[in-house]
C-alpha cells in the first residue's frame, strides 16, 4: 500500500486507513445505540423535553445539531494542537457560538415560523452538553475525519431520539404528523380523544424513560452489574 506516503493536510496519524473502516463506522453507529447521548449518557435532556411536542421542530433541531456538531468537531480538531489547554473551554464556546449564530440566521431567513417556535432552544444548542462533551472527549484528541464522524454520529444519536419522541407526542397528543392530520375524523366521531398529557413535558421524560427501558432489555451490553 503506497497511500501511506500520500500528502494529507488533515490526517496527523501516519498510518492511514480506509475512510469508512470498521473503527470509523463504529464512531457513527455507536452513538445510535450502545452509546446513545440521550438514552445511555443522559445528556441534552432539556431540549429533548422542550422541542418534541411536534415533529417539525424536532427535525429542524436535529439538522441544526448535526451541522453544529459536525462543524465544531472538525474545527476544534484542526485547532487542537494550537489551543492552549487553559483556555480551551473558551475557544470551544466561541466556535460553537459562532456556528449556532450561523444556524440561527439561516433559520431566520428561510423558515421564520420554525425559528420562532424553536426560539431560545436554537441559542441553547451552545450549552447543549452533548456538543461540549464531544469536543472535550473526542475532538481534542483525534484526527479531523474521525472527529467529523464522531460529531455526526452523536448528533444523529441525539436526533433519532428526538424524532421518535416527537413522533409519538405529536401523533398521540394532537393526532397530526408534521402538521398534517393523521388520525382520521371518524375515529374522533367514535369517541377517540387526543391525549393532553402528551403535550406536557413530563410525557417527554416518560417517553424517553420507556425508550431506555426497551433499549436496556434488548441490548444486553447496557445492563449494569452491581
Amino acid at each position: 500500500m503506497d497511500n501511506k506516503s500520500k500528502p494529507n493536510l488533515f490526517f496527523i496519524n501516519k498510518k492511514s486507513e480506509p475512510l469508512l473502516s470498521k473503527k470509523n463506522r463504529a464512531l457513527l453507529s455507536d452513538p445510535l445505540d450502545d452509546n446513545n447521548p440521550i438514552t445511555v449518557q443522559v445528556l441534552g435532556i432539556c431540549s429533548a423535553l422542550a422541542i418534541t411536542v411536534q415533529l417539525k421542530p424536532a427535525l429542524v433541531m436535529t439538522l441544526s445539531v448535526v451541522f453544529v456538531m459536525g462543524a465544531s468537531n472538525v474545527i476544534i480538531s484542526i485547532l487542537r494542537n494550537l489551543i492552549p489547554n487553559r483556555i480551551r473551554i473558551i475557544v470551544q464556546l466561541v466556535v460553537i457560538a459562532s456556528l449556532v449564530a450561523l444556524v440561527e440566521q439561516v433559520l431566520k431567513a428561510y423558515s421564520y415560523d420554525v425559528y420562532k417556535e424553536l426560539s431560545i432552544f436554537i441559542g441553547l444548542i451552545i450549552t447543549n452538553c452533548i456538543v461540549m462533551g464531544r469536543l472535550e472527549a473526542f475532538a481534542l484528541g483525534n484526527g479531523v475525519w474521525k472527529s467529523f464522524l464522531d460529531g455526526i454520529g452523536n448528533a444523529a444519536g441525539y436526533g433519532i431520539i428526538l424524532i421518535i419522541v416527537a413522533f409519538f407526542r405529536e401523533l398521540l397528543g394532537s393526532g397530526k404528523l408534521l402538521g398534517f392530520q393523521i388520525v382520521p375524523e371518524f375515529i374522533y366521531g367514535m369517541g377517540y380523544e387526543n391525549n393532553g398529557l402528551m403535550l406536557l413535558s413530563p410525557m417527554a421524560l416518560i417517553t424517553v424513560g420507556v425508550m431506555i427501558w426497551i433499549q436496556r432489555s434488548r441490548n444486553r451490553k447496557l445492563i449494569e452489574e452491581n
Partner: protein, 385 residues
C-alpha cells in the same frame, strides 16, 4: 376441600414442570394460590411464616373497599334519578349504578391482569397479586361517565409505568391506582373535571349540573348540601369517594386487621385539620372560609387517606415516618385545594407527592435513630470508665 384440590390438580397438570404449557405456569399458579395458601416452607433464615400472605392481605383490602363501592353504585343511580326528576326505587338506583360501574371494573381487571400475566410469563415469575386491589381502586376513583377505553389506557399506563417499569408489586414508588387517575386527569381533562362528568349521562341533558363540592368552591359559588349529606355521601363525585361513612367502615376493617397503618390515617387527619383551621382563621376568600370539618368529608380526602396513602409499598415504612408522611399528605391536600382552584382535588397530587418523598422521610428517621443510639452508646462508655 379435598375435592376442589383434586380438581385443580387435574387442571394444572399440563402446566407442571416438563409438560406442554410449562411457560404459562404463572397463569395457573395465580388461580391456584388464590384459592389455596401455597405450602412453601422456609429453608433459610427466619422460620416464621405468616398464613396471611400477600394474596390474603389483598383480599382483606378488597373486603374493606366493598362498602364504599356498594354505596358508590347506589349513589350513581341516586344522583342520576334525583337530577333528572324521575321517581325511582332503591333497586332502580342499584341497577343503574351497576350498569355504569361493573363494565368499568371488568375493563380495569381485564386490561391490568392481561399486562400482569404477560409480564409474569415473560419474566418467568409468579403473577403479582397487587393488581387485585389496584384494579378495583382505579374504577372507584374515576368519574362515572368516563369512556371505557380511557379507563383501559389509564390502567395500561399505570401498570406499565408506575409498576412494571420499577419491577412489579412491592417495587413501585408511586401508588399505581393514583397514577392511573393522574394520567387520566392530565390526559383527558374534559372527562375528568367540570360539572358534567360526575353524574351519569349528564353531558346529554342540559338541566343537570353535577359539580362536585370542591368544584363549586373553586368557582366561588355557594354549596347547598348539608354536612349530613356530605358525610353520608349523597353528593356528586368520583364513584366511591363520596361516602365518608362507608369509608370509615372500610378504615375500621383495615386498621383492625392491621393491613393499613392507623398512624398514617390519624396523621393525615391531623395535618388536614390543622391547615384547615389555620385557613379558617385567615379566611380571606370562600375557599379559605370553608369549614375545616367539611374539608375532611368532601372530595377524595377520606378515600385517599384511608385506601391510597396507607398503601404499604409506597408509604413510609418507619413508625415515625408514617406520622410525618400522613401529616404531610393532609397538609398538602388542603394546601393544593385552597391555593390552586384549577386542581380542586388535592388529595391525589398530595399523595403522589408524598409517595416520592416517603423514602427520604424514612432515611432521615433511621439516620436520627442511629445518631441517638450512637450518642447513648458513647455516653455509656464514659460512664464505664
Amino acid at each position: 376441600m379435598e375435592f376442589i384440590r383434586k380438581k385443580i390438580d387435574i387442571i394444572r397438570k399440563p402446566f407442571n414442570k416438563g409438560e406442554k404449557f410449562e411457560r404459562f405456569a404463572p397463569a395457573i399458579n395465580a388461580f391456584d394460590t388464590f384459592l389455596f395458601v401455597p405450602n412453601h416452607t422456609t429453608k433459610t433464615g427466619s422460620h416464621i411464616r405468616d398464613a396471611v400472605d400477600l394474596k390474603r392481605t389483598m383480599v382483606t383490602v378488597i373486603i374493606a373497599l366493598l362498602p364504599a363501592l356498594f354505596y358508590g353504585i347506589y349513589n350513581t343511580g341516586y344522583q342520576y334519578f334525583v337530577q333528572t326528576d324521575i321517581d325511582f326505587t332503591f333497586f332502580d338506583a342499584i341497577l343503574h349504578g351497576s350498569k355504569k360501574i361493573l363494565p368499568m371494573i371488568a375493563v380495569s381487571y381485564a386490561v391490568g391482569l392481561l399486562i400482569e400475566f404477560i409480564f409474569a410469563i415473560y419474566r418467568g415469575h409468579e403473577v403479582n397479586e397487587g393488581y387485585l386491589v389496584t384494579g378495583l381502586l382505579i374504577p372507584m376513583i374515576m368519574p362515572v361517565d368516563i369512556p371505557l377505553w380511557m379507563v383501559a389506557v389509564s390502567v395500561a399506563f399505570a401498570v406499565l409505568i408506575a409498576k412494571e417499569a420499577f419491577g412489579g408489586t412491592g417495587m413501585n414508588i408511586l401508588n399505581p391506582a393514583l397514577t392511573a387517575r393522574a394520567f387520566a386527569f392530565f390526559a383527558y381533562p374534559t372527562y375528568m373535571s367540570g360539572n358534567k362528568v360526575w353524574v351519569s349521562e349528564a353531558s346529554g341533558i342540559d338541566g343537570i349540573s353535577g359539580e362536585t363540592i370542591l368544584g363549586y368552591l373553586a368557582a366561588g359559588s355557594n354549596i347547598d348540601y348539608t354536612f349530613t349529606e356530605m358525610f353520608n355521601g349523597s353528593i356528586p363525585g368520583s364513584i366511591a369517594e363520596t361516602s365518608t361513612l362507608w369509608i370509615i367502615v372500610g378504615a375500621i376493617i383495615l386498621v383492625f386487621t392491621g393491613v393499613a397503618s392507623w398512624r398514617i390515617i390519624v396523621g393525615g387527619i391531623l395535618g388536614a385539620s390543622l391547615v384547615g383551621i389555620l385557613f379558617n382563621l385567615w379566611g380571606i376568600n370562600p375557599l379559605m372560609q370553608f369549614n375545616w370539618i367539611n374539608h375532611l368529608v368532601v372530595g377524595g380526602f377520606a378515600f385517599g387517606i384511608v385506601f391510597m396513602a396507607t398503601d404499604p409499598v409506597s408509604a413510609s415504612q418507619t413508625q415515625t415516618g408514617k406520622w410525618i408522611y400522613g401529616f404531610l399528605v393532609g397538609v398538602f391536600c388542603i394546601l393544593i385545594r385552597v391555593f390552586n382552584p384549577a386542581y380542586p382535588e388535592g388529595v391525589m397530587l398530595a399523595i403522589l407527592l408524598m409517595n416520592v418523598f416517603a423514602p427520604t422521610i424514612d432515611h432521615y428517621v433511621i439516620e436520627r435513630n442511629i445518631k441517638k443510639r450512637r450518642l447513648r452508646w458513647e455516653s455509656s462508655k464514659i460512664n464505664l470508665t
